[in-house]
Every structure is written in C-alpha cells, then in structure tokens.
C-alpha cells in the first residue's frame, strides 16, 4: 500500500503537497518524494528514505516551488527501501515523472523491451517501467494523452498512476485500475489523491474515478475518459461526508478490527515469502550449535510458538528468552545463531539482545515488518513479513504472520535434517494455504457468538488462558491481548500447571478459556480436557475453543466456540484469531481506547 497525491493550481503549492502525503502517511511510511514542475516547465524531483517528516527535513522539500506537482509516500513491495527506489520516478529525458500505487505484474517483460530500446533504468521498482513506457510512446505518437493511454493499455496488474510532464506543464494525467484514486475539486485548484485524506483540508467536493479510467486535470477542469476507447465519461460531483480517521481505517470502526480482518491476506503474504530466504534461516538454525529465538511482549510468545514448531517438526529445541532478559541469561558465542522477531524492527530490548549477540560473534537473523528499520540493517539475514503497516498499538496480523514464518522455517529445517520428508512438508504447506479461507470463515461465522460471550462475560475481572503444547504459547499471547486492549487481568499458562497452585483461585469471579486441540492430537486433547474438568468441578466458568468432532460427545465446558475441522498444524493459529476477537469485543463492550490503549506505545524504543 502506498499513498499518492497531486495538485494543479495557479499559485505555489509546495506546502500543501507535503501536507497531502503527510496525511496519507498511514498508507506507508518507509520513503517518500515529490516532483514539481517549475515555471519553465522543468521537473524537479526530491525524494529519500524515511518518514515524511524526516525526508522533508533531509531534502528540504520547501525549496521546490511550483504550481503543479505530484507526491508519493511508499510502503515497499517491489525493490528495497532505497533513495533511488523512492517515487516519483523520472523518464530518461526528464520530461515525464510518475508516482504509482499498486503492482504491475508484467513489469519484467516491459522492462526488458524498454531496456532493449535504449531506456536507462535507475531503480528496481515495477513503477519505473511506466514512465519509460510513456516516454517511449510519446516519441512515436507525439501526444502526451495518446502516449499515456497507450502505456496504460499495456499495463497488467493494479495501479493508480499520476503523471506530470514538461510537455504540458499545466496539467496532471492520472489513471486507475483496482487501486484507489479520486479527484478533489477546489476554486481554481484541483487535487488528486489515493483517498480523501490527501485534500480534505481544502475541499469536500470530489469525483470518484472508476477502474480503467483516466483523467486530465488542470486547475479549473477535470475530464474523465475510458482507457479502452477514449470515450468521455460523465460523473456527478460528490460532496464528501467524511471522517478522516474513518477513511484511514477503511471504514472499520477500529484499526484493530481492520487488521484482524486483514489476516487472511497477511497469511498469503507470509506464504509467498521466497523459500530461499526461509531456507537461509533454517540453514543458519541448523549450522550453529545453539539457536536462540528472541522477542519481547507479543513477539516473545511468537518466539515460543516457534520453539514448539522447531521442536516438533525439526527435532531442535531452540532457546527462547525474552529479549529484555537476554543479556542476563543467554550464553552466546560464535557457534550461536539468534533469530529476533520485531514488528517495527526498532524494539529497544530486542535490538539490545542482537547487539549483545553480535558483540559475542553470533550469527543473527531478524523477522521484521518494517523495511529499512534498525534491526533490518543490523542483522546478517532478514525476512520482511510483508504484513502491511500495523497501526493499532496491539499487534494482531503482524504476530500471526511472524508465527507462520517461524513455522515455515521450522519445516524447512525439518526437511534439511531429515526429521520430516519433503512430501510431508508440502502437505503442511498445503494446510497453511488453506488457513486464509478458514480464518475468513471464522471471522464471518463466529464473530457473533464471540461477541455475545464477550458481552455476557464483560463483568469478569480475571481470566485464565490455558493450553498445552503449541496451544500454550497461543494461550499466553491471547491473555496478553486481553490485558492490553481491555485492561482486564488475564494470565496465560500451561493447563498442566493449573493444579500446581493456580487452581486455588478458581471461583465464580475467575473465568477460564481453554484452547483444546483437534481430537486427533489424542494425548494433548485428553490432557487439556481434564484441566477443563478440574475447573468445572470447582464451579468455574470455562469457555472452550474447540474443533468440530467426528462424533459429538459432551465436553466439560460452560460454553464453546466450535471451529470447523482443522489440521493440527494450523489449529493454534485459528484459535488465536478467535481469542483476538474475544479481547476486541470485551474491550468494545467496556468502551476501551482500542487502538491506543492507555500506557502503551506501538514500538517500545526505550529501556
């Protein structure tokens, strides 16, 4: 996801243009840039890596003056986070400049053709082919509009594109296909943006573009045409009734729910990560005598789940130490590998653990969501999650993605050391491929039940989250979610641990959630149920997260959320989604500050 903006006016627009991408920063923030047409029809570009604030200072955006310009804020998908990969991109003759949001699927083919035709590429992005393509067509047809349309017709994939050119310095060309783009109409100034946040400070009158349309926008006109045949389209001007926050949340009431609903896509993205990168981590894990996985808070529980997958599928039990304790416990030497997990890549404690490891000559790897972060720059190997920006302070989709990636690494290690066969691994991978649909199903068909339970139990101040085996770290992570978002006390522990003390707490004021495995995990299943029975015997309330059974038998739960039949490999992940919703609905019932819970910060960058 990226954000694009453009303004055509009669007076200087530099401050407004920078503000536009600042308002779009929630769509991506690893690099940004602007392209401005100056009075003499020359395009000046300024771009770099970092947030809008940082780049604005570094590059002094304010020095670029002009009345027609485009801007872009980026969340990298193709090509690393580098200055040259930042948008906007320039054609060879500097006559055209383009910013783009989306993915051009035939970019490699086009790039080869354009390179053969003599075009020089300055970046590794898919976007740059568009600008060269327009330039190429312009040489042939001598009309900017014709060249722009011809180029758009050649593109496969999704795009919202905006273009400025010295050949026609009074206008912006833009086009869209499956990526959002709309035009805002002001008084002798018109705006273009990925969404209304780009210009809502200036106008509420907007024209919505539809797929496969392009527009020619000047300071006082806006013409919409169809890409396929150039037919002019008429469109009503809409007065926007809006709420900027809501727009950023894509219509969801909270980022947390939005991000929970993004999880099917996030799992796909985690599964699409290059197998070579995954195998690189597996090799590192096996080559060294000691393997550590480390994180803190949610990522500590993510690491724990990784530990269980490594143990079960690779026959290796890594050390998992919370990164804030790492220095005080870990024995590290050159025969040690450390895998760090961090959404932001800036987590202070985890960075420190890595620094400690590096100073003792360990080999390091990191799983991070933010490209170009400190952690990403400091480790020997890096996997970028590709989960998209996670705005809610509480991690949901990023955590699930990290778990999937660790499970993949464990599987790859298992194949390497012969613990599982390649065929088995393919089987597990196929099960992971089915997870997005299963999550979608749970979100749709179970949310109402979870909501009802959350409402009915919202008076409860203490919760136990219990699981065994791989379900234990999931229980702990779920308890943390409950604490973070609803401010309700929750403890996660192995269910076998219960009778060694905690069971003394069971009464009508303490609720339990039991993460029951699918019945084919026979021993785990039986042991987990016996813990539920112990609680029931003491009149405690137990919510069971279970899977559909072959034969219906009476289970020792007060209430149950029955999930569809799921293979054991992916079962814990599905239960985690249910627990996320339980925390979310508890918090909405208690009217908590969902996306910014009290006392919490998104990335903890202090000791």
């Amino acid at each position: 996801m990226c954000g694009i903006a453009g303004i055509v006016a009669l007076e200087d627009i530099s401050a407004r243009l920078v503000q536009s991408i600042r308002n779009l920063e929630y769509r991506g923030y690893d690099s940004c840039g602007i392209a401005m047409l100056n009075g003499s029809g020359k395009i000046k570009i300024s771009k770099n890596i970092g947030s809008v604030e940082e780049v604005c200072e570094k590059e002094n955006f304010g020095r670029l003056k002009g009345s027609v310009g485009i801007a872009h804020t980026r969340w990298a998908t193709h090509g690393g986070v580098t200055k040259s990969n930042a948008h906007p991109h320039m054609s060879c003759d500097n006559g055209f400049s383009i910013a783009h949001n989306g993915i051009i699927s035939n970019h490699e083919k086009l790039r080869t053709r354009l390179k053969n035709a003599g075009h020089r590429f300055r970046s590794t992005t898919d976007t740059e082919v568009i600008v060269h393509l327009v330039e190429d067509w312009h040489r042939k047809v001598k009309s900017v509009e014709k060249a722009f349309v011809a180029a758009m017709r050649e593109l496969d994939g999704t795009y919202a594109v905006i273009l400025v050119t010295g050949h026609e310095p009074d206008r912006i060309y833009c086009a869209r296909n499956e990526s959002p783009l709309l035009i805002g109409l002001g008084d002798y100034v018109n705006y273009i943006g990925s969404d209304l946040n780009a210009f809502i400070d200036h106008t509420k009158n907007a024209v919505f573009m539809e797929d496969k349309e392009y527009a020619i926008v000047t300071h006082d006109s806006c013409i919409l045409k169809r890409i396929s045949d150039g037919e002019t389209m008429s469109r009503q001007v809409q007065e926007l009734m809006w709420d900027s926050e809501m727009a950023q949340k894509g219509g969801f009431p909270h980022y947390m729910l939005k991000e929970i609903y993004e999880q099917p896509q996030v799992v796909h993205n985690a599964l699409d990560i290059d197998p070579e990168l995954v195998e690189g981590f597996a090799r590192m894990a096996l080559e060294k005598k000691t393997l550590h996985i480390t994180g803190v808070g949610t990522t500590f529980y993510v690491s724990q789940i990784g530990q269980y997958y490594f143990s079960r599928y690779a026959g290796v039990t890594p050390m998992v130490i919370s990164s804030d304790e790492f220095r005080f416990l870990a024995q590290v030497d050159k025969d040690t590998a450390i895998i760090a997990v961090s959404q932001s890549g800036e987590t202070y404690d985890t960075l420190n653990a890595l620094r400690y490891g590096k100073s003792h000559h360990a080999t390091t790897g990191a799983i991070v969501n933010v490209m170009g972060s400190s952690m990403a720059r400091m480790v020997d190997q890096m996997i970028l999650q590709g989960s998209g920006p996670e705005i809610c302070v509480i991690s949901t989709k990023a955590a699930l993605s990290q778990m999937i990636i660790l499970a993949r690494i464990a599987m790859a290690a298992g194949v390497m050391n012969g613990r599982i066969t390649a065929k088995q691994a393919r089987g597990y991978e196929a099960q992971l491929r089915e997870l997005p649909a299963a999550i979608e199903n749970v979100l749709n068909e179970k949310s109402g039940f979870i909501h009802t339970i959350a409402q009915q139990q919202s008076h409860i101040k203490h919760w136990l989250f219990l699981g065994r085996g791989r379900y234990y770290p999931v229980a702990r992570e779920s308890a943390l979610k409950m604490k973070e978002v609803s401010y309700v006390h929750a403890e996660g522990m192995p269910s076998g641990f219960l009778k060694h003390g905690t069971i003394a707490l069971i009464d009508e004021n303490l609720n339990s959630v039991v993460f029951a495995p699918p019945e084919e995990e026979k021993e785990l299943y039986k042991l987990t149920l016996s813990s539920a029975e112990e609680i029931r015997a003491r009149d405690g309330y137990v919510l069971g997260l279970t899977f559909k059974q072959k034969k219906k038998e009476k289970l020792p739960f007060t209430e149950q959320i029955v999930l569809p039949k799921t293979p054991p490999f992916t079962a814990p992940f599905l239960q985690m989604v249910v627990a996320q919703l339980l925390s979310y609905f508890t918090a909405t019932t208690l009217k908590r500050n969902i996306d910014r819970p009290r006392s919490l910060a998104k990335s903890v960058t202090v000791a």
Partner: protein
C-alpha cells in the same frame, strides 16, 4: 440527502401494543421511537424523510401533522395494503432522480447514538452502496452477512438457519443506496433479498460496522429494553422547575417533566422518567428503569419497578407493577399485583402469535393493551398479555397467556 423511512409494518409480534399503533409510534421515555430516528437522521444531514406508512397510518400522520421538532421535512407515502418490504420501498421511487442516493431506514429499530452518520461516512469513503451491519444475540431473524477484508459484503443469507449464519454480523436495517436500486427491486418484483443479491453480484455493497447498542423493537418486552437503553445514557437528575415536590427522596438520574406532582413520602430511584403532568401519590416507590407516561396517576403506596406506563395510565393504590408494559389510558384497580417471575425462576415464556417464545428473561410481568380496565385486587401472571379495551372484573386471577 433524502431518506426513505419504512414505517408501515404490522409488527404482529408486538401485540397487544401493535393493535393500536405501528411500532415506530411506541413511546420510549417521553418520545416515540420515530422521534429518535428522525432526530438522528436530521443530525446526520438528511433533510427530507419520505415516510412509507401502512398499518395504523393515521397514528403516524397525526403525530407528524405539524412537522417534526427536529426540523426534518416529512413526506407521507401510503403503501396501501400490506406489501413486501421491497414493494413498500418502490412506492417512493418517484421521489428520486437518477444519480441520487438515499438513506433507507427500517423504522422499528432504536439506537442511542447516530447509526446514520456512521453509515453515511462509510458511504462517503468509496461512494459505493452501504449496508449497516451489527451483532445481535438472535441472528436468525435477520440477514446474515459475509464480509471481505475491504468491507465488501460478499454474501447475505436471509433469516439463517442452524447450519450457517447464526454467528455472523447481521443487517441492521440502515442502508445508503443509489436511485438505480429501484431498478434492482423492480427486476426482483419487490423481493428485497433478491435485489440486494443482484446488487452484490453486479456492483459493490460495502458494510458499515455498527458497534454501539441496537434494538429491533419486535416483542413487547423490547419496550423495557428500549427504556433501559435511553435511561442508561443519563448521568444527572433533571427536574422541571414547575414540578411540585414535597418530602420526596430522589436517588440517581431521575427525570421529572413539566407539571408533574410528587407527593410526600415517595421514593424515586433513578434512572427513572416521570412524564409531564403525571401525579405520583403519597408513599409511592419508583424503582430503577421505570417510565411513567404523561398525565398518568399513581395511587398511594404503589410500587413500580422496571416498567413502562404509556400516557394516561391510572394505577390504583397499593398495586405492584413490575417488569411490565402498560398501554395508553389503561385503568388498573387498587391492589393489583403483577407477578414478574416463574415459581422456579426459569425464564418466562410468552405466547406470541400462537407460538410460545422464550424471552430468556427471568423477570417478566404483564403486557396490557390500550384502554384495558383491570378491576381491583387482581393478580396477573408472568408473561400475561391483555388485549386493548378488555375489561377484567374485580378479584380475578389472570393466568392464561392471551
């Protein structure tokens, strides 16, 4: 923007109260359900409400005959004899021009905050048609919704059965739709479900998630829930300066309206509502979530608890009215007791349209239709319904579920 407000339904399950008024004209804390709806629509930027009326149309017409206090312009459309929802919507077709969008509202739902402005904001994001969705404990009565990650509705199952759909978000009866939706309706011959299905197939229908309270006024006991929802918003007591109060104890957010009188020795525990011109006799105990309608008279020593009295009700001395709804101008004789629980404390069951419905509530009293007269010293069993105008002699026990 304009709205279509569907207020013509028969509301059969709301009997005995729907025998004399449509559901949107049920009184809740001194206003009618429709007043809350119109007020919120106006606040959300809707300027004209096309009210489609049918059952007991005259009641709505006379309520809105001098306009509405919110300033909302009203246009009344008769839906004629009972028709499908889609056909009722089509009656408003000529009121819109191509390219226009409208808010569609099922008028027998109640929210305490503005569901319309949230739906309109969702509409503003993409300009696609919007359906407001929410969670409810009883999904089987509504349309179950399947949702993609970009808030696009992918499927709707109307009135889901056991198999699937009971745990889904449901349609909450608020939509923002384009004028061309009438075309979908015409094609589907007024079948709303089919028209929505076609809309989803051909273009995009986006969801707007509603997370605050939402009530479908379906059963008589929902009136009690409605009162509770409104009263739970109150933080302070408000007593009109004209109210005559003598040696009364008031606790919590109690609202007493113009011209009411409360006699000595009474205890009013809030939240509670005393309508304009009401008279509360000596030593009356008013417990939380009680709503006394305008000009009602409560006799000496009566006890009212979690109940809704419509305007003009008389409650004779030493009566107990609990967890009950009492229709307009009902006369309750002295010493009448409503029984508000089953002997074994199991949830009370109520007969609705020939079927027994489990209310899920442990405390339910009686539902007494407008202008009924209950003689003195009667006992009314839990869940009893009394039809409008019925006269019950003195010293009776009413057990049956009418």
């Amino acid at each position: 923007m304009k709205a279509i407000v569907l207020a013509g339904g028969r509301g059969a399950s709301m009997a005995p109260f729907s025998s004399t008024r449509p559901n949107p004209m049920l009184p809740v804390c001194g206003s009618y359900v429709i007043d809350y709806t119109l007020g919120m629509l106006k606040a959300a930027g809707v300027n004209l409400a096309n009210m489609v009326v049918g059952s007991h149309a005259d009641v709505i017409k006379s309520h809105l005959s001098h306009g509405h206090p919110s300033g909302m312009a009203i246009h009344i459309i008769n839906q004629g004899k009972q028709a499908m929802i889609g056909k009722a919507i089509l009656k408003a077709k000529s009121r819109f021009s191509p390219g226009e969008h409208f808010v569609l509202v099922y008028a027998d739902t109640l929210t305490t905050s503005n569901i319309f402005s949230v739906a309109l904001q969702s509409f503003g994001l993409h300009n696609d048609p919007v359906a407001s969705i929410c969670h409810t404990g009883s999904a089987e009565k509504y349309g179950a919704v399947y949702l993609g990650q970009d808030m696009k509705i992918t499927k709707i199952i109307e009135k889901p059965k056991k198999k699937a759909g009971l745990g889904n978000y449901v349609l909450s009866g608020v939509f923002v739709l384009p004028e061309r939706f009438f075309g979908y309706l015409e094609k589907a011959r007024g079948d709303m479900e089919q028209a929505l299905k076609n809309l989803i197939d051909k273009e995009t229908l986006r969801a707007s998630i509603w997370e605050n309270d939402w009530l479908d006024m379906a059963y008589p006991w929902d009136i009690l829930t409605a009162n509770r929802m409104i009263m739970d918003q109150w933080k302070t007591a408000e007593i009109h300066h004209s109210v005559e109060l003598s040696e009364t104890i008031i606790k919590g957010p109690v609202r007493i309206c113009q011209g009411a009188e409360v006699r000595a020795g009474s205890v009013l525990e809030g939240p509670a509502f005393i309508g304009p011109g009401a008279f509360i006799g000596h030593n009356v105990l008013i417990r939380p979530y009680t709503c006394v309608g305008a000009n009602s008279v409560i006799g000496v020593g009566a006890e009212l608890k979690n109940c809704a009295l419509f305007p003009g009700v008389n409650v004779g001395r030493l009566s107990f009215i609990g967890d009950s709804v009492v229709g307009e101008s009902v006369d309750i004789g002295a010493g009448t007791m409503t029984i508000n629980r089953t002997i074994d404390s199991k949830p009370v069951k109520v007969k609705v349209g020939g079927k027994i419905v489990d209310t899920g509530l442990e405390k339910i009293g009686a539902f007494i239709g407008d202008k009924a007269v209950i003689g003195a010293s009667n006992t009314l069993a839990a869940g009893v319904k009394i039809d409008p105008g019925v006269m019950i002699p003195h010293n009776c026990s009413v057990h049956h579920r009418c």
